[in-house]
């Protein structure tokens, strides 16, 4: 379970203090898939960074289970970055194996499990390819396998598919849901795409334009298993979309107005 309690993050900048998120509180129950949506610049990435222990919290606190996240990366956490974070000097197999290598697992076991994970994300045969030899979608698959191989109970995803073309993106979203149905880790997924958020999640949390605060939270009672493309034809999907969009629209407009008046 992820608990975020009245969390504020302020950065000192040459122009004075800048508040990225202000008094944000929410909870993600264990095994749930929750999305955070909000306009660009609402502090979504900062929030994820704080949960991962990469960015210190200015005020408030964050708990993973019953352990507070203080002074470092908590164990048992996975993070899928927006930009590729694969090590360019390691092959696909070596990249996927890295979390196990770091944990000192036996070489044979590490190799076997990494090979198996590459196969599960549809990249059997690409073991010895370097990241630059793979397409954007393939690199995302390698990243996903790298994150899932050590079975973190909490998975943080920062707009992982935003750089992909629509078809690849829908494929990846479906694959993610299939993998998640097996692993059932707690997922906090960041996106600015409301359709993606509704299609994937059990709950959608809307953040306000920066400094981000929680504006509203919506349960998504759509049936699972889902196909992210077909679920959009569901009547309930359209109703939820309209309802949440009303909230989000104001924030997007405000964020846009601010960005253009600068």
């Amino acid at each position: 379970m992820i608990t975020v309690e009245r969390v504020t993050r302020t950065f000192g900048t040459p122009a004075g203090d800048f508040t990225a998120v202000r008094e944000v509180s929410f909870r993600v129950a264990a095994g749930r898939f929750v999305s955070l949506v909000g306009p660009s610049g609402c502090g979504k990435t900062t929030l994820l960074g704080m949960i991962a222990g990469l960015v210190p919290v200015s005020e408030g606190r964050i708990l993973l289970g019953d352990r507070a996240v203080i002074g470092g990366v908590p164990p048992d956490i996975g993070y899928l970055f927006q930009r590729d974070a694969l090590l360019p000097w390691k092959t696909a197999l070596q990249n996927v194996a890295l979390p196990l290598t770091i944990r000192g697992r036996p070489v044979a076991e590490t190799r076997a499990r990494a090979t198996e994970w590459l196969r599960r994300v549809g990249l059997a045969g690409f073991e010895s390819y370097y990241p630059h030899q793979l397409s954007g979608g393939m690199r995302k698959r390698v990243s996903l396998a790298t994150t899932l191989i050590y079975g973190p109970s909490v998975l943080l995803m920062d707009e992982p598919f935003s750089a992909l073309d629509v078809q690849t993106r829908n494929l990846m979203e479906n694959e993610l849901l299939e993998l998640w149905a097996e692993t059932r880790n707690t997922v906090l997924f960041i996106t600015h795409d409301l359709e993606e958020a509704i299609a994937l999640s059990d709950e959608v949390i809307v953040l306000t334009a920066g400094p981000g605060r929680v504006k509203a939270s919506y349960p998504i009672p759509l049936p699972r298993p889902r196909n992210v493309v077909e679920i959009r034809f569901h009547a309930e999907f359209t109703r939820l979309y309209e309802q949440i969009w009303k909230d989000l629209r104001d924030e997007v407009q405000q964020s846009y107005a601010r960005a253009t008046s600068r």
Partner: protein
């Protein structure tokens, strides 16, 4: 390799040889018909006899060996020192802030001006040439290591931290490989500078080495010997650079080739 590319390569090699032969022929002809004075520039046939004689008679080997020794030892010391100090500076920003201006000033000093000092301090033997080489190589490697460690993509560091990586894991899987790519990129330049350093050192005061041959030839007003020495030097550097290029391509296999 496809046949087409083999043919392209052969054609290129043939073209290069033709250029060399043409230059040598013009040179030879020029000295024969009296347009150029062979006293100043010698002539290809005479040079071939001289250089061939050096290799056949064994005269040249101790000199090549001396230059190789100076360059290789200097290279090893310079690389080790540059990597070490570069790492220290990257990990302790205070050290870097303290010494950085000094490093920049030393790096900007023309090393040829230091050569006489090295000879006064360390004698005309091996040590002064090694010092000369180190003074050139060290700074190149130092700045590459420093930049390689400082310019690591934060995303990569976070990626490894989140999966449970310790400082040691970061060092081994992210920082060192990143620095290595920078170091490798400058290694080729370093080898060139190492040879230059050794030659300058020999030129200014030594009793052996390829640089000494050139210098000795000059003191005897023997342009044939000077040019023959330079030819040996060129062949030597070309061989070295070629083997380094081959080595480099083997170690950067993970890199994207430019389109």
């Amino acid at each position: 390799m496809p046949a087409r590319r083999v043919a392209d390569r052969l054609r290129l090699a043939a073209g290069r040889i033709t250029v060399l032969v043409a230059i040598a022929a013009a040179w030879e002809a020029g000295t024969r018909i009296g347009v150029i004075d062979p006293y100043f520039v010698s002539r290809p046939t005479k040079l071939a006899v001289t250089v061939g004689g050096w290799f056949a008679g064994g005269f040249i080997y101790p000199h090549i060996w001396a230059t190789v020794q100076e360059a290789v030892i200097g290279l090893a010391v310079g690389i080790a020192g540059g990597v070490l100090i570069g790492m220290l500076f990257a990990f302790f920003p205070f050290l870097s802030a303290l010494f950085h201006p000094l490093m920049v000033v030393f790096n900007a000093t023309p090393r040829i001006a230091l050569a006489p000092l090295f000879i006064v301090w360390l004698g005309i033997g091996l040590a002064s040439k090694v010092a000369m080489v180190v003074s050139l190589v060290f700074f190149i490697i130092f700045f590459s290591t420093y930049a390689g460690l400082r310019d690591v993509d934060v995303n990569l560091i976070n990626h490894v931290r989140v999966m449970g990586g310790t400082r040691r894991d970061l060092m081994r899987h992210v920082l060192l490989p990143s620095a290595l790519t920078w170091i490798f990129a400058s290694l080729r330049a370093c080898v060139g500078f190492a040879v230059i350093g050794a030659i300058i050192g020999e030129y200014l005061g030594a009793d052996r080495g390829i640089g000494w041959i050139v210098q000795y030839g000059e003191s005897m007003f023997d342009s044939n010997m000077v040019i023959a020495g330079l030819l040996v030097l060129m062949a030597f550097v070309a061989t070295l650079d070629g083997s380094l290029g081959w080595l480099e391509s083997r170690f950067s296999h993970w890199k994207q080739k430019p389109l």
